[in-house]
Symmetry: C2
Amino acid sequence: MARAVLFDLGGVLLKPGLQHFLSACERDWALPGGFLAAVLDAGGSQSPWSRALRGHIGLSQLLEELDERCRARGRSQGVAIPEGFSASRPFRELRERGRLDPRLLSAATRLRGHGFKTCVLTNTWVDDTSWRSLTAALQEQLRRHFDLVLESCRIGMAKPEPGVFSYALEALQARPQEVIFLDELEENLGPARELGMATILVRDTESALRDLQELSGIQLLGQEEALPAPITPDEVAHGYVTIRPGVRLHFAELGRGAALCLCHGFPESWLSWRFQMPALAAAGFRVIALEMKGYGESCAPPDISEYSQEQICKDFITFLDKLGIPQVILVGHDWGGAMAWNVALFYPERLRAVAVLNTPFRPPDPNSDVLERLQRIREFDYQLYFQEPGVAEAELEKDIGRTLKILIRSSSPEDRLPFDLDFHRVRERGQEPGNGGSLGIWGSPGVWGIPWDLGDPGNGRSPGIWGILGLGDPLGFGGFWE
Amino acid sequence: MARAVLFDLGGVLLKPGLQHFLSACERDWALPGGFLAAVLDAGGSQSPWSRALRGHIGLSQLLEELDERCRARGRSQGVAIPEGFSASRPFRELRERGRLDPRLLSAATRLRGHGFKTCVLTNTWVDDTSWRSLTAALQEQLRRHFDLVLESCRIGMAKPEPGVFSYALEALQARPQEVIFLDELEENLGPARELGMATILVRDTESALRDLQELSGIQLLGQEEALPAPITPDEVAHGYVTIRPGVRLHFAELGRGAALCLCHGFPESWLSWRFQMPALAAAGFRVIALEMKGYGESCAPPDISEYSQEQICKDFITFLDKLGIPQVILVGHDWGGAMAWNVALFYPERLRAVAVLNTPFRPPDPNSDVLERLQRIREFDYQLYFQEPGVAEAELEKDIGRTLKILIRSSSPEDRLPFDLDFHRVRERGQEPGNGGSLGIWGSPGVWGIPWDLGDPGNGRSPGIWGILGLGDPLGFGGFWE
């Protein structure tokens, strides 16, 4: 029974593979077909190529030696090495133009979700070149998507050496019969098959997925639109900032680039953003999912004045100060959205942009009594229910597990709490889903409020967030970035 | 007895002030001298200027209204408003060209170090313009340097309204007689003096410092080369990453921009970098001061294999993965330097650059027995002393306070532990300070090792680090950045 899958990288997960770029360079430089591959392969286990794959030399040195050998081979075979020739070009292009196959990546995520261990097993080199940042980005992405990334240059052995496969089995804690191995080279599959692994020779994605589906018993074809994998608490950094004595805020952090702060609503936590965090980090943002005051690992001071919008906004500015971040992109949902609007109003300097899900902008009205208005419109009645200290606490704490389940998961009429969250009420009214929430976008120099379907608030998978950040958004929000 | 100081911003801490840019624009646009200031001042407390200073309108609206009023005044006075005129220009130039006065900033830091509360008290506006990021950077810098930053637009009152000063006294928890107030406008000083504050009319930095020195009783002149203020644990964010079950690393974090990771030596902690962290953050780096495995709030697993260089380097890569950071600038000192060199050797992809203090690069030599070598050269004898489990623990834990004090602070011959750290031994040998350590710099494409004076290791105030990062470094390290 299969329970682990080994994926080759170049030509399988990453396309096209090195061979494609070698051939393209040969054509461009009018070299005989196979000239570069022949130089790579010449010399057996002591060749520069073989030494690089086992990590004995780095890519810089490999390229230097290849350059020399190409020129020597050119001289001995009467092949003209053109002006501008450099052995580094196909290696650099591999990094610049190679792309991870989204269908195979999605299949790996799906298998992992079904309990399979997933592993990249690749013949590769230590990249110490000036374009190594591209390799770093690839490595970081692979290490996020797979349980294990085994690189020949860091284990000192290369496929098809049988030792590689024993190493992989040991690392996976699996028996050969439990492993499926995908590679584009038949010569690499042989030793794995001999050990007892199931193997797939990868010609194209479609047939590879079909074989993998059959061997794993997991539906993979037609599943390419799978949800992105959510992040778990152990997969991110957890930060803590002391705002002042007795007031400490917790946040989860992932990624590098422009700081983007996510503020959840009621009754949620930073974990509400678990689907968005990895996607936003991959899109180039440093994501800071703040746990709001009163929730989770952030403090919950008893003094009610701690929860005024004025104090919460001031605390947020201090939070940025202590992180040393002058400006942030602020994304709020529900009550987090209310704070986002207020920060935008009173501290616009500190925001590069603000996006709010499900909380339309309402200009503050000093002449309106909020509580009176709530009582009149009978919406958000949980806010009224919470006014009498002790009542809600007693009822909700009777069975905290049930309370949380109903609050966050359930919308069935049988599971009812003594109050309604707004989205329940909206459903009861039979409103169209498109009117269930609204999306507001603010940038310099104005304010917009746009109706938007939030889907199911509380499940953390709102489509809105993608649009807001210009990741394939018809609104073209990118135009508002400074 | 003075114990708090209020500093005006524009024209005092920040130079030049708005008046300078108004005058320069008037000259450029061939407007009568004082034309712009007259438009600003016209209309009293209901003027756009006055409303902006009290936060009733933002800067965008102020500039729109000023534009209109300038044109109206031009028409009524027969003054030609030139093509390209915009009231926003002096306000934008103020942010683009205004600089904090380093001598006054240093004096404020010094006063703060002597227990004075320091406060910025400024008439200013909410900046919602497209250049608000410049204002954000200024605000963040001020809020880091001063105990309190009071902005008229956020307290709803502007100098010289007496309420401003009562507000400041309340916020500082001080009596007027305990406060010194510096402003460049005599009209702002009046009400403060009437309350009982000591006031300084600021004409130039030199005489302002002289007056401030006299009133505070603190030596301020000739002290401009003061050390930068170190950061305290509560002034930064603290992060935690679970590398794998049972292994958790702690770090302190400050700043935004390219990630820069600081790795301390033995026997230290992240706090060793308390002087460098704020300076590096101000220089545009996101500083991550890692607490190494075995120290402080990071875990100290008992299994000795956890401390192999191989495992420590692997853990560091996982640390970067979980933070979602593909590449980092890695700075190591002492044992942290050893790790930095090894990460550079085995995972160069993940480093944008590496800089090492006090640990020369020694290529790994598989034929050399490290322990045998240590015994032969009799250097670093603490490493030998630590080999027998239990011995060092018993002795050092007899009086942990004394042990730590001697390890970190003392170099007197009376305070001795049963072993020598290398820098003690170097001193005993009477070597020149310049040979006490060495600085290695590695970037693409080579390796350098440069002798460098570390000063007193363990005090966290090495001059070397400044040089490494190209902050006024004769080595011109900046040239190695990609």
